[in-house]
Amino acid sequence: MSDGAPILETRGLERRFGGVAAVDGVNFSLRRGELRCLIGPNGAGKSTFFKMLSGQLRPTAGDILLDGQSIVGAQPHAIGRRGVGIKNQVPVVMNGLTVRENLWLAARARRRGTAIGSAIDSIVARLDLGPILERFVGELAHGQRQWVEIAMVVICEPTIVLLDEPTAGMSDEETGRTAELVRALNNSATVVVVEHDMQFIRQIARSVTVFHQGRILVEDSFENVVANPIVRDVYLGRRALT
């Protein structure tokens, strides 16, 4: 499911912290229905890039176009309403509330009445959250808190899903399930995933964008990116999978 018009575009996007440019002139384009992976060394600017897309950070220069409309300076809730859902690198969830209450708040953002209950039931079944439903999120293990955040994002049925390291802290089996989930999400949404787990990326990736020092280094298919000598040098390492 993919047509020509870019659903998300950035032009010369820049974000400086003091003298340091975390994101340094990024021209990024995402087609509707794509499943894109974003990889790159630590400090390359991936999470900062994501935070600008979701409105959590303001760019210091450049533009972000969502469906052709600039969203720079828009309030984060407005961007959320326009269908951008983000799962952050460090889970951003309501730690002092139960999983159920977190899910309720996510569902209530777009739904009313009985639709809220059924949305919660369906996501609980889909992600197997039953056993932890009444636990306080702050007391869950790190990986479980990630699942809660993912569930909250999915409940909102976003048109663009940004996943920042969704498999961090997950076992192989859980990683496999996340890959399935990402593919399923891609049936109805455009998805961008930041990850370090190459096994995971191999399971889901079609096209891969490589960030390095705040800029896009290369954009290509998974096989080509993994074989790229510069990428191996700055990121993958010598013993990386082939």
């Binding site: 003091g18 630590n42 197997d128 959250l129 932890i132 293990a141 076992s171 859980e174 370090h196 390492g237």
Partner: protein, 232 residues
Amino acid sequence: MLDVADLRSGYDGIPVLAGLSLSVRELEFVGILGHNGMGKTTLLRTLIGILPTTSGEIRFQGASMTRLPSHARARRGIGYVPQGRGIFPGLTVRDNLRFAAFAVGRSDDLEPILAEFPRLGPLLDRPGAALSGGEQQLLALARALIQEPKIVLLDEPTEGIQPSIVEEIIDLLKLLRGRRGLTILLVEQNIDFIKALSDRVLLIQKGVILRELAAGDISDAAALGDFGAIES
């Protein structure tokens, strides 16, 4: 070096560790694998003393540690790299490292640790909060090692770190084992990392050690068994 007997602990009335026992010999690298919520992080937190022990014994180098406060355990030579990094966001990289050295009365000369972590060199004056997630992870690791611990407890140290740096960490830790005499108890999800680094691997489920495997066996999915769904 580290002996744990029938350890029980938990949060606010919810028991997590249910009588866990393990031993780590000097210079061993021991890995712990397990699903989320099975007790991996709880185990390390109980060992370092942030979480109180409900019952059971922890002995380090023959002496009991069960009732010691965590700073005393740190001074005895137990290093800890928590999940989620735990670095001080308001302090610079330099100060994060110096603080750690002061806390256990060691020299705050940064040369040796920077030689082991060259990537932190150019970041010395950056505040912790301005580092990327992976850079923070490196800092957390360096901070533990600057204290010259006898044993290091690592909670998912490769989470969020790019593959090439993961390789560097493997090489570095192996080097340090020989050079400094380092012992490691490692909690991880990254099977490749555990395989490359550990001498043996313990599988944790529902707060106890289920099985022990030699590092070579963990590529075998059958040996790993089925951990089941996310449970608490």
